[in-house]
């Protein structure tokens, strides 16, 4: 059987960011995959030479255009650990509210793209319409839609008034209602199931061995969610990770859908348990030492390795994003599949290539 090499990407209608896969295909069945990265490599880790550790917050926010607040939160947590600063409880809870709102909008973005990947454009637009409400909440409370710039070393920059909190809760009620309306369309539609169920199966052992993280791993039955660590005030909230066992595209979309509902519940809990007090502590001094911080991003486990030596600039900032860990898992799913299923499966791991290549 003659082999053909078909390039998938870097420009593809399904991909939000450029990723190149060289697919070796024999009669429509994929035999081998060879990825190529590097299309949006900006070298952001190297900017530590030029910008001091406080200016790096703005740089780190711009690593990803979807989950930017969570990068800043991880970075600030790492620096706060090095400088031994205690963040006030109100700031911790506010950070959780904004990061869960980020998780909701990231998953809604993905659900829309997922629907678009098998041609269901009207569902894509419905999901993004709901997402606009969350972005409005972000804009009104922090000043910007996605790159919210609300984290500082030692706390947060903005506070939420009681009126804003009431408004946020009413918006979340609307979001929950609308998502409930769309649930049966996404989850029980015959065509959607035909395109996604049983495709791109990642067995549990393979997922663990290849280091898959986030919803990709949780859909294969691995209970691993870093929010269980209890960083930043998560230990005051009641949280259960969402796990499915099938490991196919349908299970991954189910995990993300249920996580949206879980995040709405977390925001409600956070608002009801909001402590009073300050929103920031003064950060004096400079960081020294090395630390590893981890946080749960919408796509999985985010790891920051920070090395500082007491000067204004950090010595080394290493960012390991979840899509970087999920790409080897993707490479094991693809062989053996039909060529026409490739876009849906590649999108199902939620590739965020600008994060991967920084």
């Amino acid at each position: 059987m003659p082999k053909t090499i078909i390039p998938f990407g870097p420009q593809h209608p399904v991909l939000p960011e450029p990723l190149h896969l060289k697919l070796t295909v024999e009669d429509e069945i994929i035999v081998e995959v060879f990825p190529a990265l590097g299309f949006v490599h900006r070298g952001l880790e190297g900017l530590v030479i030029h910008k001091d550790f406080q200016q790096m917050i703005q740089v780190v926010e711009r690593v990803c255009g979807i989950c930017s607040m969570i990068h800043a939160m991880c970075y600030c947590q790492g620096i706060e650990e090095l400088m031994e600063i205690e963040v006030p409880p109100r700031a911790k809870m506010l950070r959780i509210i904004w990061s869960e709102l980020h998780r909701i909008q990231s998953h809604l973005l993905w659900l829309g793209l997922f629907a678009d990947s098998f041609g269901f454009e009207s569902l894509f637009m419905q999901f993004w319409k709901i997402r606009e409400k969350i972005l409005d909440v972000n804009e009104a409370t922090t000043g910007n839609r996605v790159i919210v710039s609300v984290n500082l070393i030692g706390g947060v920059r903005r506070d939420l008034s009681a009126e804003q909190i009431k408004w946020i809760l009413s918006n979340l009620c609307w979001v929950e209602e609308e998502i409930g309306r769309l649930e049966s369309t996404l989850m029980s539609d015959y065509t959607v199931k035909k395109r996604t169920a049983g495709k791109g199966v990642l067995p549990r052992e393979k997922a663990f061995e290849l280091g898959a993280v986030g919803p990709t791993a949780r859909a294969s039955g691995i209970t691993q969610d870093l929010r269980m660590l209890g960083y930043s005030a998560f230990d005051w909230l009641d949280f259960q990770p969402v796990v499915e066992t099938d490991g196919d595209c349908y299970a991954r979309s189910r995990v993300r859908f249920r996580e949206v509902l879980g995040s709405i519940d977390l925001v409600r809990q956070a608002v009801s348990k909001m402590p009073g007090g300050e929103i920031r502590t003064k950060a004096k001094g400079r960081p020294e030492g090395e630390t590893c911080t981890r946080i749960e991003q919408p796509r999985g486990e985010l790891l920051y390795y920070i090395k500082a030596n007491g000067s204004k600039n950090l010595e080394r900032l290493r960012i390991r994003t979840p899509t970087f860990a999920n790409i080897p898992a993707l490479l094991s799913i693809l062989p053996g599949m039909w060529l026409s299923d490739v876009p849906v499966v590649v999108l199902s791991i939620d590739p965020c290539i600008s994060c991967t290549e920084r």
Binding site: I57, Q58, R157
Partner: protein, 131 residues
């Protein structure tokens, strides 16, 4: 075939799901980080905004009393407005409109003596970075 008809009739006679932009524009929220303005009458040309800016878009000339700002390099993070000791920098709620050519904003003012309040705020900011 008749499953969609109730939907179609409902959509014809009820409110549209989207806003009729540009005829209907949603008013901006308060405290949105929009365009940056400097009230040069209050500015003391201390240079703190230049030091703290993450994208280095502000240049301050203390002796000549010049405040030069590149709106195309600015990322509108608002750190300068938060930290300005004389509170002359502030952000509007509207975003900067698109411009046809690349422009730099240059403002000239009188370098003033710092008031006591500004001097105290500046000392606090500098202590943070020098410790």
């Amino acid at each position: 075939m008749f499953k969609m008809t109730p939907n179609i009739i409902h959509n014809l006679f009820h409110q549209k799901a989207t806003r009729r932009y540009p005829r209907v524009v949603r008013p901006a929220f308060e405290n949105v980080r929009g365009a940056l303005f400097n009230d040069v009458a209050k500015c003391t040309f201390c240079g703190t905004c230049e030091v703290k800016c993450p994208s280095q878009c502000i240049t301050v000339d203390k002796t000549a009393g010049l405040w030069i700002y590149d709106p195309f390099a600015c990322v509108f993070c608002g750190i300068c407005a938060d930290i300005c000791p004389s509170e002359s920098l502030h952000q509007q709620s509207e975003y900067r409109l698109p411009l046809a050519g690349r422009e730099t904003i240059m403002l000239k003012g009188e370098p003033k003596h710092k008031t006591e309040k500004t001097a105290k705020l500046m000392k606090e900011i500098n202590d943070d970075t020098k410790d």
